[in-house]
C-alpha cells in the first residue's frame, strides 16, 4: 500500500468539483470477516461510475452501506455536502438514493402503476385516486421512452421490462443517485441497448449512477469512471478513457494466476470415470453429452441460465430428466432422486450455499454427517456419538474449518468455512464423482485457494471432479478441459491449456469456433 498517499491525492484533486456522494475510509467488519477496509468512493451528478471487483471484493457490501442496509464500522459518508448516516434503506430512499437490485423487488400481482407508487399511492380521501395513479405512472414511463401499459400486471412483463419499471419507480422518487446492481445480467443484447439509452438520458438529466457489473466489455459504452475493489480494499479510481479494460482486470485480479491457484498434482488419465449422453430436459437443456476422465477436472462454463447448473442438478436427481443416459465406471445408472444419486456415489455442492447446502440452524457436526448418518449410527438407527463427533472433528481438522467447536451453529461461521463444511459433508460420503457448483462464490481468497487444493487432491485420488463456474480465471486456472454451455447445449469442449477467455466467451455466446 505504498501508493495509498497518491490515491488519496488523486481523490482530493477530483473533489474540486463538489461530489454528489462521497465516501471516505469506509470500513465494515462482520464477525470473523473484514468485508471492507478503508474504502473510498465518490460520485458526481451526471456521471456513470462503475464499481468493479471479483466476487467477494466487497462491491455489494459497499452498496448496502450507501443504501443504509448496513452501518459502516468506520468512515464517513457525505451526501450533497452533508455528513449522512442512513439507518435503513427507507431513509436513503427518502434522501434520493435508489437501488435496483439484481433480484427485482416488484410485486408480481400488482399492476405496473401500482408497483411504481407502492405505499405512496395518490389518494382522494380514503381511496386511491386511480386516474392520477395511472397518469403519473404513464408520465414516468414516458420520460424513459418505454412503451409499457401501466395497467399490465408485473408478472406478465419480461425481465427487461420489469427492470425498466424499477427504474421508473426510482425516478418517481426523484432519485439523484441510482445504484444498478448487475442490470444487464439477464437482458438480451437488444434490451441492453435500450437500457443504455435510458442510462444516457438519466445522465443528461443529472442523475449520478453507480453501476456494478461483471460484464466489463459493456462498460466502455456508458461508464465514465471506474473504481476497483479487491478483497475488501480500495485499489484505484480511473477515468475509463485513460485506462483499458485489461488494465481494470489486472487491478481486479491483482496477482498472477499462478499465485491464485495451486500447482496441480492430479493428471488426467485415459479411463472414463463418468459419462453422460444425450441428456435432455424439455425447455431447459437438450442433448448434453460429456465424459469425465480419471484424475481430470472438467469445467462447465457459460453465461447465467445457459444450463450448467440445471444439467448438474438433473444428474444429481434434484430435477427430473426427460431422456439421456448416465454411466459411471461403465455401469448405467437410474437416478430419480438425490438419494439415488448419492447412493451411486455422486455428490453435488450446490451453488446456493444457504438455500440448498446447509441446515443453517444446526451445528457443524450435524451438517458434516447429514448425508451419511448410516455410517455413524447402529442398526436401530441410534446415533453413535463417539463416532459421530470423531468424524466431525476429523473433517474440521482436515479441511481447516475455523470454528470454536463442532457444536457451533453453522450460521455463525464465515462463508468460506460454511463451504468447507458442505465439502466435508460430501467427502464423508466418499463420492466417486463430485460436482462443485460455484464453489468459491462470495468467499475470501484464502478459503478459495484451500478449496482449489481440495478439488485437485480429490482428482488426484481418482474422483471425477466437475467445476461449474462463471469466473473464467477459475476455469482456466483449475480445469483440464472445459465444456462451454450456451442456450442449454454444449457448444464446445475445449482443452484448457489451448484456449483463452476470448475463445470460451465466443462459445458461451453461441458464436462457435474462430474462423481460421
Amino acid at each position: 500500500m505504498q501508493n495509498s498517499a497518491d490515491i488519496r491525492d488523486a481523490h482530493v484533486a477530483s473533489a474540486d468539483r463538489r461530489a454528489l456522494l462521497r465516501l471516505d475510509g469506509i470500513t465494515k467488519e462482520f464477525p470473523g470477516v473484514m468485508a471492507l477496509s478503508d474504502v473510498h468512493f465518490d460520485l458526481f451528478a451526471g456521471e456513470v461510475h462503475a464499481v468493479c471487483g471479483e466476487n467477494g471484493a466487497g462491491k455489494s457490501t459497499l452498496m448496502k452501506i450507501i443504501s443504509g442496509v448496513y452501518q459502516p464500522t468506520a468512515g464517513s459518508i457525505v451526501y450533497k455536502g452533508q455528513e449522512s448516516r442512513f439507518a435503513s434503506p427507507l431513509e436513503s430512499e427518502a434522501a434520493g438514493i435508489a437501488i435496483i437490485h439484481q433480484e427485482l423487488n416488484l410485486v408480481p400481482h400488482l399492476s405496473v402503476a401500482e408497483n411504481i407508487y407502492l405505499a405512496r399511492e395518490p389518494r382522494r380521501g380514503f381511496l386511491i385516486d386511480r386516474k392520477k395513479l395511472r397518469a403519473d405512472a404513464k408520465r414516468c414511463l414516458d420520460r424513459l421512452g418505454i412503451d409499457i401499459d401501466p395497467d399490465t400486471h408485473v408478472r406478465n412483463l419480461s425481465v427487461a421490462q420489469s427492470q425498466m419499471v424499477e427504474i421508473a419507480k426510482a425516478l418517481s422518487l426523484d432519485a439523484e443517485v441510482l445504484i444498478m446492481d448487475e442490470p444487464t445480467s439477464s437482458l438480451t443484447e437488444q434490451e441492453t441497448k435500450l437500457l443504455f439509452q435510458v442510462i444516457r438520458d438519466l445522465k443528461a438529466s443529472g442523475v449520478g449512477i453507480v453501476y456494478i457489473s461483471h460484464r466489463l466489455d459493456e462498460m466502455e459504452e456508458i461508464v465514465d469512471r471506474v473504481t476497483v475493489l479487491r478483497d475488501g480494499r480500495y485499489i484505484a479510481t480511473d477515468n475509463l478513457r485513460d485506462t483499458t479494460v485489461n488494465d481494470v482486470v489486472a487491478k481486479m485480479v491483482g496477482r498472477s494466476l499462478e499465485e491464485k491457484f495451486p500447482e496441480r498434482i492430479s493428471k488426467p488419465s485415459d479411463d472414463i470415470v463418468f459419462s453422460a449422453a444425450g441428456l435432455t430436459r424439455q425447455g431447459v437443456f437438450s442433448d448434453v453429452s460429456f465424459s469425465l476422465r480419471r484424475g481430470e477436472i472438467l469445467g462447465f462454463s457459460g453465461l447465467m441460465g445457459a444450463g450448467r447448473t440445471e444439467v448438474a442438478r438433473a444428474i444429481f436427481g434434484a430435477d427430473p430428466l426427460d431422456t439421456g443416459t448416465i454411466t459411471m465406471h461403465g455401469e448405467t445408472l437410474t437416478i430419480s432422486s438425490p438419494r439415488d444419486a448419492i447412493a451411486a456415489g455422486i455428490a453435488y455442492l450446490s451453488e446456493d450455499r444457504k438455500a440448498q447446502g446447509l441446515a443453517i440452524k444446526m451445528p457443524v457436526d450435524a451438517n458434516v454427517t447429514l448425508a451419511n448418518m448410516d455410517e455413524v449410527s447402529n442398526t436401530f438407527g441410534l446415533i453413535d456419538f463417539a463416532k459421530h463427533n470423531k468424524v466431525a472433528n476429523d473433517y474440521v481438522e482436515l479441511l481447516d474449518i475455523r470454528t470454536p467447536s463442532i457444536k457451533q451453529p453453522v450460521r455463525l461461521l464465515s462463508g468460506g468455512n460454511q463451504q468447507k463444511i458442505i465439502i466435508g459433508k460430501w467427502l464423508f460420503r466418499k463420492p466417486k464423482v463430485m460436482f462443485f457448483d460455484e464453489p468459491t462464490r462470495g468467499i475470501d481468497v484464502g478459503a478459495k485457494f484451500a478449496i482449489y487444493k481440495i478439488m485437485d487432491e480429490l482428482a488426484a485420488e481418482g474422483i471425477g471432479v466437475v467445476l461449474i463456474s462463471s469466473e473464467l480465471p477459475e476455469i482456466l486456472g483449475m480445469t483440464d478441459r472445459v465444456a462451454v454451455f450456451h442456450g442449454g447445449r454444449i457448444t464446445g469442449v475445449l482443452e484448457t491449456r489451448n484456449t483463452d477467455q476470448e475463445e470460451i466467451m465466443r462459445y458461451a455466446s453461441g458464436y462457435g469456433p474462430k474462423a481460421h
Partner: protein, 339 residues
C-alpha cells in the same frame, strides 16, 4: 487485541441470552409454584401435584406430537378432533362390537395414526399447506365422530374401560382405626406414567436417532436435507403419524377417565398443544424445539389453570392470563433471535 476481546464479549452475551431463554420458562414455572403455594395452602400437596400431572397429560401428549410436527416446519390443527374420534371409536368397539378393552383402545389409537397418515399424505404428496390439510382433517374427524355417535355420548362401557384413565401405580391405602380406608399416597396415575415414558422416548428419538436428526434437518432447510439424501416426505409424514397416534392415545385416556366417550371432547386442545410447544421454545418457522421445553410449557399452562382455579379466578380471566403468558414467552424468544 481490542477486536478479539470485543468479539468475546459479544459471544458471551449471546450465550447469556441463550441461557436466559432456556431458563425463562423453567424459572417462570418455579415462580408460579411459589406464588400459588403462598396464596393457597392446598396447592403444594402431593394430592394436588398428582392432580396437576394428570391434567397436564393430555396437553403434554398432544404437545409432544405438535413439537415434532412444528420442528419440521409444519402444524397440526387436527389433534383435538382426532382425539375425540379415536375415543369414540374405542368406546363403540367395546359397546357395539364387544371387543375387549385393550384391543378396542388399540383400534382407537390406530384410528389416530390413520388420521395422521392421511395428514402426512395431504402435506407431502398433494403438497397442501399443513395449516389447510390439518384444518380439513380437524373438521372431518370431528364430523365423523359426531356422525357415528349420533352426537350422543357413548356410555355403559363397564369398569374396565376406566382403568387406563383412573388407575394408578403405588397407591398406598391403609385401613384406619375407624375402619375407613385411609389414602396415605394417592399413587402415580397411569396417564402420568404414560406421559413420562413417551416424553423420554420421543426426546431420545429426537436427540439420539438418525430419524430425529433428519427431523431437525428438514425443518432447518428442507432443500438442503433433500439434496443431502434425506427422504423428506417420509420424515414429514412420520411426524404427522406420531402426532395423530398421540392424539389417539390422548383420546383413549380422556374417555377412559370419564368412562364415557364424548364426541365433543377436545375442542381447541390443538391450540393448547401448540401453545405448550411454543412456550417451551419451539420455533414455528421450524428447525428448533425440544421435548423438555414442551413439557415445561405444558406444566406452565396446567399449573396456571390449576392455581388460578384454586384462587377462585374466573375461567375468563384465566384465558386472558394464559394468552398473556404465550405472548410474553414468544416475545422473549424473538428478543433472543434478533441479531
Amino acid at each position: 487485541m481490542a477486536d478479539i476481546s470485543e468479539q468475546r464479549s459479544v459471544r458471551l452475551s449471546d450465550r447469556q441470552k441463550d441461557i436466559i431463554q432456556k431458563f425463562a420458562a423453567l424459572g417462570s414455572l418455579f415462580v408460579l409454584v411459589a406464588v400459588f403455594s403462598v396464596t393457597s395452602s392446598a396447592f403444594f400437596t402431593v394430592n394436588n401435584g398428582m392432580t396437576i400431572a394428570l391434567q397436564v397429560t393430555s396437553i403434554a401428549l398432544l404437545g409432544i406430537g405438535a413439537t415434532c410436527v412444528i420442528i419440521t416446519g409444519g402444524i397440526d390443527l387436527s389433534v383435538g378432533s382426532v382425539l375425540a374420534l379415536s375415543g369414540v371409536v374405542a368406546a363403540l368397539a367395546v359397546r357395539d362390537w364387544g371387543i375387549p378393552v385393550p384391543f378396542a383402545m388399540l383400534i382407537g389409537i390406530l384410528t389416530g395414526s390413520l388420521c395422521g397418515w392421511i395428514n402426512g399424505l395431504l402435506v407431502t404428496k398433494m403438497k397442501l399447506p399443513p395449516f389447510i390439510a390439518t384444518l380439513g382433517m380437524m373438521l372431518i374427524a370431528r364430523g365423523v365422530a359426531l356422525q357415528i355417535t349420533g352426537a350422543r355420548a357413548v356410555s355403559g362401557l363397564g369398569e374396565s374401560f376406566g382403568v387406563l384413565g383412573n388407575g394408578s401405580l403405588f397407591r398406598v391405602v391403609t385401613i384406619g382405626d375407624d375402619g375407613f380406608p385411609n389414602v396415605s399416597f394417592p399413587g402415580i396415575p397411569y396417564p402420568v406414567i404414560l406421559m413420562v415414558v413417551i416424553a423420554i422416548a420421543v426426546s431420545l428419538m429426537l436427540n439420539r436417532s438418525v430419524l430425529g436428526r433428519h427431523i431437525y434437518a428438514v425443518g432447518s432447510n428442507s432443500d438442503a436435507a433433500r439434496l443431502s439424501g434425506v427422504n423428506v416426505s417420509r420424515v414429514v409424514s412420520f411426524t404427522y403419524v406420531l402426532s395423530g397416534t398421540l392424539a389417539g392415545l390422548t383420546g383413549c385416556v380422556l374417555m377412559s377417565r370419564l368412562v364415557t366417550a364424548q364426541p365433543n371432547e377436545g375442542v381447541m386442545y390443538e391450540l393448547d398443544a401448540i401453545a405448550s410447544a411454543v412456550i417451551g421454545g419451539t420455533s414455528l418457522i421450524g428447525g428448533v424445539g425440544t421435548i423438555s421445553g414442551t413439557a415445561i410449557g405444558a406444566f406452565v399452562i396446567g399449573i396456571l389453570r390449576n392455581g388460578l382455579n384454586m384462587n377462585g379466578v374466573s375461567a375468563f380471566t384465566q384465558q386472558i392470563i394464559i394468552g398473556l403468558v404465550i405472548l410474553g414467552t414468544v416475545w422473549i424468544d424473538q428478543l433472543r433471535n434478533r441479531r
